[in-house]
Symmetry: D4
Subunit: 159 residues, 8 copies
């Protein structure tokens, strides 16, 4: 898992794109005193190296009617079913994150739902997947932090 | 918590931006057979309404040397300390998500670290915050799903 | 789930009926300086809107020989059996409350029994329902509060 | 705890009042082929014996904006604080039931709230009571049964 | 479950027999200033009423090579098997006590063994009973109190 | 912990006394074809060696009004308090057995009480001992086995 | 389980070999003022008595690429499978220690792996053994003590 | 954490020493068709690189009177005390292994004791360390596998 070498310029480009992925390359170029072509080449290289996998919008889910967040721990009957169960979980769009974990759960998911009733339906979908033995749910009363930008800046400053 | 009304056009714009936040507005306009100005106005309105909060890059953390993910449950001595503890947690960039939760934990965090040793240091930082009584850690063996796009598309299709 | 609009008069009628469901409408009318007919119409409307679902006696169960209260958490083999199990639970009159819950239990019940031995029989009835995997019981040593009136008054004062 | 002796007539009166506390005594009298005065005397006696403690409305809380139910287990620092803590809990109208229990919790409560956010506030109120060491919350996804009438009929049939 | 009425004389007889079951009836008679025949009659009556079920020696198990005590919680696959499993447990002489319990276990046993290895064999015997799903063991590091006499004296003093 | 050597005769004497501690020595002598004096000497020797610690009655607690059995697990604030806490527990006659244990509890007790309310009082006594941090209670629904005789016979047959 | 009698000379020989198993017998002999032949005879006797079972290198696993340590608790479907499961576990070289245990696990293992991903593979191997019902993993953040020498010295000093 | 490069010869030397640390270098040399001096140089280099940290005897603890093994999980009051507590644990020779762990325990230890009573004393020593909040013990009924050699061979074969 050899790390791709990012230099100071890559780092500054990422630092700006993290804040706003739509920042025009010409603005980045002006700020860093390099050509827009260089910015373009650098971003392309980071995309090809798989460091930049894409970009996404940050939406306010509550304003879209999705104010309910739950974490669901899943127990499997047998871990040989892990891959299959994850494929089935992947068909449920309300599951935004899923991990294979140590500890008491085999799989651990983050679920976004409209309300209590919708959450119940989603939990039932998970419970009904073949190979799922039981689920345990923990409900979020408030999403206090959801911010990858601090980590990203911190990673680039460490390098 | 009245929902902002999104019409079919908004929905199609969001559907395209979700896939690639850098899609030029002229491309969106061409595809939807509307003017680029309309796209601009619609996006602006959704930003002002707080539906679009921003955009962010999706980076491959493993390629950046961060291959270790842990979920840390935090027990507080007293919930009157919740706000203060969250402020202190917010100073640790390796905590990318934090929730106030029901169930046995008071606060539940997602942590990204370089390796076991780095995770230990971060867990110790959390443990050393005043008001934190104990922590319990669950380690991710594999991040199998991390994808908000399926949810976003699903939300817009429901509307 | 649009809320039915209750006005100040409705609120005052409910406030009196909550304390004593048998309060004659003429007494309510006199107190509120309205006609008994108005009281009648208002109550009827609240019944039709489903806000008032009925009325019930508050009995002293201990005096009737039922001094034992237990909460029983039920684990199902599979949540697809939830509806069926709830129907079977519904045939046991000693179960006065049952919820589908998050957390470690699938269904959570309140049970009233005569004594330890009677409780054992009821728990065994629950355990013997097809689809019930295990139960866990928590016994009440004292029912310190059982009072919906404070909540009802509080709801009407908030409105 | 000597039980008050209810005879067949008391039993039939209770059976009718349980279904509708507002049933006129004349209706009951007609059905049981006794005088309305007898009904009146019997009910009075059962009230004086403390068997009938009162009556209450059954309201649809969801229609009143209270669709969120949670069970909260409370750990005390020391059980000598039980009485004091129960008094403080009694000041929170959203707690409709509270028990002193065996098992891991010292006190176990039922809470009705408007939504997730309101539940959070109520849980924080409980957490902030002096002597409360920690709380653990289990959320109801559906109140499937809430019916004392089956029990009451069953009690009277057993007698 | 009507209680047999014990009078002061019964109480004093029991108080003496509890300390030493072999106390001659003549000694008891002398002390209580009654005839030995009366003692005999009273004891007989208490035996016939089932209050005195028998007598047993108190042996020092450690001196007999049994220094290991464990409590074993048993989970059943289904409580309909309770009776059958108890019959099978009853065939294992090392299980001196067994209860049907509330809480997480279905049956809870006390086991006396020679040493760790012997305990392992007994636990395996329990685990191998049909209908036993799992067991959980808690080991005694010291039997600090094992004394029913204080309770018996207390019961007779209360009466 | 050298074991006292019991021979075949001792074994047969114990086997008879276990069944009925009041069996006259002359009866034992006749059955074993030895002199009553020999029985006397042997029993004395076993008492002096501490193998026989005494004898006790087996009473039917339910008939004496004590039908409630609970197991209470005690958590200490610090194990240096173990001795002191055990002394305080020893003052509560309703605690018939107490062990220092491995696993989650520090001390594990068996409690006999009259009923739920009495059990609550006893649990509160335990909770109020200095150094007791928390207690957890498991209630017996039925004492299915309570029999040391099978073990005793088994021990003597093994020797 | 009669203990082999070690005398002072055996003790001193072991004390030196524990520190360095390759210490030449002539060095030991010189230090203890005995002949090398005596050292040889004593070591041979302790090997034949099974006290010395062998010797092993202490390697730095991190330097060999094995920096990940986990403890894995295994639940069996039935303890009659214990022997078979242990044979299968024995085929996985990454499991360096395995115990049959009391408490919630049936078997408890220590696992050494290269990294998180390798640990996942090993845990999956364990999970896939027939008769293994579930596993629970606890990850070591630091191996702070791993030293049998202190115990060995202590044992010989006690003797 | 760059790995020291071991070649085929190093690997074969280690493979032989793992089986018997006292194997004379001349025997190893003969088998590998190299000079004894080369073996010496290679071992020295691996020692200097820290790969070989030393060697130790494998003793049969049961034959030395230590037949009791327990795993003890330790909860700290605050992780800032971790280092101090580990120093204190290090003074107890009966603790042969100690880890800082994720999950519910802060520190997890392996203890070897003579018997139940000795184990109790050691657990009390751990409980009495300042900063130790509670301990939880799991007892080994059988050490079924304790063998690093399989791992070591496996590591060298992988290289």
């Amino acid at each position: 898992m050899a790390k791709f070498k990012l230099d100071e310029v890559d780092h500054q480009i990422l630092d700006m794109l993290i804040e706003n992925t739509r920042t025009p390359f010409t603005d980045i170029a002006k700020k860093l005193l390099i050509s827009a072509g260089t910015v373009h080449v650098r971003v392309k290289k980071m995309e090809e190296a798989g460091i930049i996998e894409g970009s996404s919008l940050t939406l306010d889910y509550r304003k879209l009617g999705y104010s309910f967040i739950a974490y669901v721990g899943i127990y499997l009957q047998n871990t040989s079913q892990t891959k299959f169960v994850l494929q089935r979980i992947n068909e449920i769009p309300y599951v935004t994150v899923a991990h294979i974990t140590t500890g008491k759960f085999n799989i651990f998911c983050k679920v976004r739902a409209k309300d209590t009733n919708h959450a119940k339906e989603i939990i039932f979908m998970l419970d009904d997947i073949d190979g799922v033995y039981r689920t345990e749910t923990m409900i979020s009363l408030e999403e206090s932090i959801n911010d990858k930008k601090r980590l990203m800046h911190s990673i680039f400053q460490d390098m």
